[in-house]
């Protein structure tokens, strides 16, 4: 089986500062993988390296076996990579429907049509309706995103990525800042992600990590400390020392 996402010896250096050190990672199709680590471990840098917002100093990024290391972000997306942002990165003045429409028309490659719009495709409109209904947001389709509650905006953050029908999904702290009362819908959504999508979740919320992930990579000072199953990571004394321990005492 082709590996959906592979990082080979990925390193990033800013001057003398080594932010990412020789990271190797493999995600099979359908993987549920969590990336954890204390603040400053280089998790966000790693996401930027995977998505192409940063260029690595060394190493390779492969999507479905294809080397995309030198490729622009938008081309990686076309090859099946989608991400969400830690801080909501939506189209705030546009409506919920328009936000989804942007993702769908980008996916279908019809985003530069001069005289027709995404609304003219009934299949895409049905798809948008299905997606919004599954998130409980259909009735809010006509509302501008900026007028929605924070938790609802987090859902749209993920919906935009899902609308791309990715093969690899990077979720950057999907429940960050969401009050626990609103969190259940996000948890449900994460549990119902399409089975074949390889998912890498970067998260501080250990409940979510242990519930969601089948494998965990612990990143410390830019390097992989441990990679293993949930149980292996949970019981690893090094992890407890550098990460879980810290959090327990926090």
């Amino acid at each position: 089986m082709t590996i959906a996402l592979e990082l080979r010896g990925l390193s990033k250096q800013f001057g003398e500062l080594k932010v990412t050190r020789d990271v190797n990672l493999q995600l099979a199709p359908g993987a549920r993988h969590a990336l954890i680590g204390p603040n400053g471990a280089g998790k966000s840098t790693l996401v930027h390296l995977i998505t192409g917002l940063l260029k690595p100093s060394r190493g390779q990024v492969l999507l479905s076996g294809r080397d995309v290391t030198g490729m622009a972000s938008e081309r990686r997306v076309k090859l099946g990579l989608a991400r969400t942002f830690q801080i909501n990165s939506l189209f705030n003045q546009l409506t919920v429907g328009e936000n989804i429409g942007l993702a769908l028309s980008a996916r279908e490659g019809i985003d530069s049509r001069l005289f027709s719009g995404v609304t003219q495709s009934s299949a895409l409109m049905d798809e948008a309706a299905d997606l919004l209904r599954s998130l409980g947001l259909l009735d809010l389709a006509g509302r501008s995103v900026v007028s929605l509650a924070y938790g609802q905006r987090r859902l749209i953050e993920i919906a935009l990525a899902l609308a791309l029908k990715p093969s690899v999904l990077l979720l950057d702290e999907p429940v960050a800042g969401v009050p626990s009362t609103e969190g259940h819908r996000l948890f449900d959504l994460l549990e119902r992600l399409p089975e074949d999508v390889a998912t890498l979740v970067i998260e501080h919320d250990m409940d979510l990590v242990f519930r969601f992930a089948r494998r965990i990579t612990v990143l410390v000072e830019g390097a992989v400390l441990v990679e293993g199953s949930v149980e292996e990571v949970r019981s690893d004394p090094r992890v407890r020392a550098v990460y879980l321990g810290e959090r327990t005492h926090a």
Binding site: G101, L102, D111, R113, L114, M125, A128, A129, A141, L164
Partner: protein, 328 residues
């Protein structure tokens, strides 16, 4: 709720630019001007030309978020292209407008390559640099442009061989209004299409657009080229109606004026261009007639008042009172 109406909910969530009572009012104003304000037809034609120009900027700036202080580059190139075409090739006006659009569009295409790689202040400076370079080029190439004296002495044939440009400006006014209406209809279609939504997406959040797989620069390039071509049409119209093209058609003043027009009228709603052009041109004319030395001060005060009390411009204010939000 059945599936059909669910999709209907999504379709209804797309805010489209439709024709409203504002458009009807503008048509009425044009008709009344034609029949009852004969003495002001020349001025009204300038309003129409400037509205086309402001529409072109609204597409780039209001929809695509491209900042420009050099849009006169395209207006001026269109104007020179139309007048040179009339002088050396044909005096037929419609093909002249087409030539103006193509030449300005090519300038937009080429300059867009540099301009659209940047954002913010750098972008603003680059647009200014392009216009300034072209102005200097026109100034130096006196054998082609006649330099400071301007290019004149060309004729424009009757439109369709039927409607001769008359001394009172009837034909010029109707011609400008029809071109304006066509451009307006074209832009409405455009902003309601995929590229219009994409432009707004880029204006709102270019990074996320990239992460949706959109090549942002390429989309803006298309938009900027279309915007430049439309500005070229405005320049071509001006050249054909006024029968003279001077260096001022490439000037910073003109670039700044159209930005002010759009600020007055309101961006990202198309019809803001109409309000802006009307207020700016009529007010400039009246203020200059009343006080030929200090008339610019009047414009300054109006601009301050608009920015203070209607920051979205007149179009934003109209959208608020009619209870309907526009594209923004």
């Amino acid at each position: 709720m059945n599936k059909l109406s669910d999709a209907g909910l999504v379709i209804a969530s797309f805010r489209r630019q439709s024709y409203t009572w504002v458009d009807a009012l503008l048509v009425l104003a044009a008709v009344l001007t034609f029949f009852f304000a004969e003495g002001y037809l020349a001025l009204a034609a300038v309003v129409a030309v400037m509205a086309v120009f402001a529409l072109s900027l609204d597409l780039a700036q209001g929809y695509g978020g491209v900042e420009s202080l050099g849009h006169a580059a395209f207006f001026g190139m269109g104007a020179y292209a139309a007048s040179l075409y009339a002088l050396h090739v044909s005096t037929e006006p419609l093909s002249g407008l087409l030539v103006a659009a193509v030449v300005a569009g090519v300038v937009g295409l080429v300059s867009g390559f540099a301009v659209l790689r940047t954002t913010g202040l750098t972008q603003l400076m680059l647009t200014l640099a392009v216009a300034t370079l072209l102005l200097e080029l026109a100034n130096v190439a006196k054998s082609v442009t006649n330099g400071d004296d301007g290019l004149a002495g060309y004729d424009i044939s009757p439109i369709f061989g039927l409607f001769k440009f008359d001394i009172y400006g009837h034909t010029a006014f109707v011609y400008a209004c029809v071109v304006l209406a066509l451009i307006y209809a074209l832009l409405k279609k455009l902003v309601n299409s995929s590229i219009g939504l994409t432009a707004q997406g880029i204006r709102e959040n270019p990074v996320r657009m990239r992460m949706l797989g959109v090549t942002v620069e390429r989309r803006l390039w298309v938009l900027y080229t279309i915007s430049a071509a439309i500005a070229g049409v405005a320049g071509g119209l001006s050249a054909q109606i006024n029968r003279i093209v001077g260096l001022d058609s490439l000037s910073f003043t003109l670039s700044a004026n159209v930005v002010v027009m759009l600020a007055l009228g309101g961006t990202g709603r198309l019809y803001g261009a109409f309000f802006g052009a009307i207020i700016f041109v009529v007010l400039s004319d009246r203020a200059a007639a009343l006080d030929p030395t200090n008339w610019l001060a009047v414009l300054g005060v109006v601009l301050i008042l608009i920015v203070r009390y209607a920051p979205d411009g007149v179009a934003g204010w109209v959208a608020r009172i009619s209870g309907k939000e526009g594209a923004k």
